[in-house]
C-alpha cells in the first residue's frame, strides 16, 4: 500500500517543492481557497473521522468547528514539541515530507479563517526549524503563502517558533504561554483554545501528524480515508516503535494493526529472540501492560487498547523484554517527570519529588515493602488532582507497574 504520511519513503525527493507539486501537492489547498467555503473543508475533515494524533485522539473536524466566530483574529498553531519519551514521528515527517505538513496547516488555517499560523517546535529541533523556514520561503515565492492567495481575498503567513527544552510545552495551553513569551505553564481549562487561545484569541492547535493527514483527505475524500483503519479509529497512524526490538523506527500502518504484527512482522521481533514482558503503548506516560498472546493480538486502535487498561496516546510503543526490571523502568520514568514537572500545581510538583525519592531508594535496593506501599499511595493521591495531563500521566507507570508486576518489587526490597 502506498504511504499516506511518510510519502518520502515512496517518493524520496518529495521535500523539493517541484516534486511535491508534481505529485499533486497544493492542489487541495488551491481547490479549497478558490472553490470551497471554509466550513466545507471542516466538514470533509469531520466526515473522514480523523482524530488528533498528539495523544488525546479528539475528533479533528469537531475541534475546528468549535472556533469562536464572534471573536477575531483567529490563529492556528502546529504542536511540533514532540517530547514524549518514545515518540519520534513528527521529526521524520517535518524533515522528509515538509510540504504536506505545511499544506495541511494552511488548509486548517483557511478552514477556521486564520491569517497567521505558528509552528511551535521543541528547541532541540533547531535544524528542523531552519529547514522549515526555507520551505516556508519557497512556498511564499511560489505563491502558496502570502497575500490574496490564488487571486482570492484570503491571506496567510506561517511562522516557526522554537521552544527551549521543556516537555510541558507539549501541553497545548503551556505551549501558548510559551509563544506569548512566558514560562510554559498550563492554563486552567476551560476556556479551551478554540474560544480563548493565543493572545486570548480563538485558536486551533493540532499535532504535526494530524495536519499532515489533511491534504490527502481533501484530495481523496473522506470515504477513501475511512476505508483504512477501524470504525473507531479511521485512517493510518505513524507508530513510533522503540525499546528491545530488532528494528526500532517509525511504521505507518492502518489503525487496527496488532501489536504482534508491528513487533514481529514489521520490526523483526525482539532482540536476541527474547519474549516480550511488557509494552508501554503511549511512551513514558503510558500504563504498563503485561504481555501475553491475547495482548499481542490486540488491534492498535483507541478503543481496543483501552480494554488492556492503557491508552494508545500518540502510539509510541516501547517494548520491554524479560530482562527488564519494572522497578528500573519506573525509576527512569519518574526521573523524567520530576525533571519536567513545571511546578505550577502542588500535587505534580511535590508528588513527583517524593515519587523520585522513593523509586530511587527502591531501585537501589535500600527500600522496604512499606516504601513500595507508600510510593503507590503517593501516586494514587496525585490522581485526579493535577492541573494537566503531565501530572496525571506521571503516575500511570508507577501504579500499573506496582500492581501488575509485584514480583519485580518483592525482589528488590529489604526483608
Amino acid at each position: 500500500m502506498a504511504y499516506v504520511l511518510l510519502r518520502h519513503r515512496d517518493i524520496p525527493d518529495i521535500n523539493k517543492i517541484d516534486v511535491y507539486k508534481k505529485n499533486g501537492g497544493f492542489a487541495a489547498f488551491k481547490k479549497a481557497v478558490t472553490k470551497m467555503q471554509p466550513v466545507e473543508v471542516t466538514n470533509v475533515v469531520k466526515d473522514s473521522g480523523l482524530r488528533g494524533r498528539g495523544g488525546a485522539g479528539f475528533p479533528t473536524g469537531m475541534k475546528w468547528s468549535f472556533i469562536d466566530n464572534k471573536n477575531w483574529p483567529h490563529y492556528v498553531v502546529a504542536n511540533a514539541d514532540e517530547s514524549e519519551p518514545g515518540t519520534f514521528k513528527d521529526r521524520e515527517i517535518m524533515e522528509s515530507n515538509p510540504f504536506q505538513f505545511l499544506e495541511g496547516l494552511a488548509l486548517a488555517s483557511y478552514a477556521v479563517g486564520a491569517n497567521a499560523a505558528y509552528i511551535y517546535l521543541r528547541g532541540e529541533f533547531w535544524q528542523v526549524a531552519a529547514f522549515l523556514d526555507e520551505k516556508i520561503a519557497e512556498m511564499e515565492a511560489a505563491g502558496y503563502l502570502g497575500d490574496n492567495l490564488f487571486g482570492s481575498e484570503y491571506s496567510l503567513k506561517i511562522y516557526t517558533h522554537l521552544g527551549a527544552g521543556a516537555y510541558i510545552c507539549g501541553e497545548e495551553t503551556a505551549l501558548l504561554e510559551s509563544i506569548e513569551g512566558k514560562r510554559g505553564q498550563p492554563r486552567v481549562r476551560p476556556p479551551f483554545p478554540p474560544s480563548y487561545g493565543l493572545y486570548g484569541k480563538p485558536t486551533i492547535i493540532n499535532n504535526v501528524e494530524t495536519f499532515t493527514n489533511v491534504p490527502m483527505i481533501l484530495a481523496n475524500g473522506a470515504d477513501w480515508y475511512k476505508t483504512m483503519g477501524t470504525m473507531d479509529s479511521a485512517g493510518v497512524k505513524v507508530f513510533s516503535l522503540s525499546g528491545r526490538v530488532r528494528k526500532p523506527g517509525n511504521y505507518e500502518l492502518p489503525f487496527g494493526t496488532t501489536f504482534r504484527q508491528l513487533i514481529y512482522e514489521h520490526a523483526g521481533g525482539v532482540q536476541d529472540g527474547r519474549p516480550v514482558k511488557a509494552i508501554m503503548p503511549a511512551g513514558a506516560s503510558s500504563s504498563l501492560v503485561v504481555v501475553d498472546d491475547k495482548v499481542l493480538d490486540t488491534p492498535m486502535d483507541y478503543a481496543s487498547v483501552r480494554t488492556l487498561g492503557a491508552d494508545l496516546g500518540s502510539a509510541s510503543v516501547i517494548v520491554l523484554d524479560d530482562t527488564v526490571d519494572i522497578d528500573w523502568v519506573i525509576n527512569k520514568t519518574i526521573k523524567f517527570f520530576k525533571h519536567e514537572s513545571c511546578g505550577k500545581c502542588t500535587p505534580c510538583r511535590e508528588g513527583n519529588y517524593w515519587m523520585r525519592n522513593l523509586t530511587n531508594r527502591i531501585h537501589s535496593g535500600k527500600g522496604s515493602a512499606q516504601d513500595v506501599d507508600l510510593l503507590l499511595n503517593v501516586a494514587k493521591q496525585m490522581q485526579g488532582k493535577c492541573l494537566c495531563a503531565l501530572g496525571e500521566f506521571s503516575t500511570m507507570a508507577v501504579v500499573t507497574g506496582i500492581e501488575r508486576f509485584p514480583q519485580d518489587f518483592k525482589k528488590v526490597v529489604k526483608a
Binding site: 521529526r91 532541540e124 527551549a164 514560562r183 522503540s242 526500532p248 513514558a284 516501547i318
Partner: protein, 168 residues
C-alpha cells in the same frame, strides 16, 4: 553591547514574526541570539532584552531559568547532551555515557580541561530509535548525532578541536 546593534537584521526578523502589541513573544528567540556568542546569557543581555520588550528583567530571568536550553553560566564551547531516558537506556545509553566520561576523564556535568566540551545528561530528545544519541549545543546551534559509539564520539570531539584551532 545591545542585541539591536550586534544583530540588527536578526532582531528585525524576529520582531516581525509577532503582532507589534505582543512583542514579548520575541523573548525566546532573542535569548537564543544573546546566547550565541558565549554559550550563556549574562545579566546585561537580560537587561537589554527586558528593555527592548518592555518587560522586567526578572521576567526575562524567569524564562532563562525555566527552559533547559538557556544557560546563565559559562560551560564548554560545546555542550554534549546525552539522552539517557527510558527508550535510549533500553538501547545502551547509560553504558555509552559512562564509557564516554571514562574516556574523557571527566564526570557528567564537567568540562574537558581545554574548555571545549561539557558532557551533560538530558531528557528525551525524540530520537529513541537511534540510541545511543546526543545533541551538541554550541555557537552554530543544535545538532543531533544519532547511533553513536564512544569511538565515533571521540572522532567528533577531535574534529571540533581541529575546527576550533583553525578558527583561532
Amino acid at each position: 553591547m545591545s542585541l539591536e546593534k550586534t544583530y540588527p537584521k536578526e532582531v528585525k526578523q524576529i520582531l516581525a514574526k509577532y503582532p507589534p502589541e505582543h512583542k514579548r513573544s520575541a523573548v525566546m528567540p532573542l535569548l537564543y541570539l544573546a546566547q550565541r556568542e558565549e554559550g550563556f546569557i549574562n545579566k546585561a543581555a537580560m537587561q537589554d532584552i527586558a528593555q527592548m520588550l518592555d518587560i522586567t528583567e526578572t521576567e526575562v530571568a524567569s524564562i532563562v531559568g525555566f527552559y533547559s536550553l538557556y544557560h546563565d553560566e559559562k560551560a564548554g564551547k560545546y555542550r554534549m547532551q546525552v539522552c539517557t531516558d527510558l527508550p535510549c537506556a533500553l538501547r545502551g545509553a547509560d553504558e555509552f555515557l559512562n564509557n564516554l566520561c571514562g574516556n574523557l576523564g571527566i564526570k557528567v556535568g564537567e568540562t574537558t580541561p581545554d574548555g571545549l566540551v561539557t558532557v551533560e545528561e538530558v531528557m528525551c530528545l525524540a530520537s529513541c530509535d537511534k540510541a545511543p544519541m546526543f545533541q551538541t549545543q554550541g555557537p552554530d546551534g543544535i545538532k543531533y548525532h544519532d547511533l553513536m559509539t564512544v569511538d565515533r564520539t571521540m572522532e567528533l570531539i577531535d574534529a571540533l578541536k581541529q575546527a576550533n584551532k583553525e578558527a583561532k
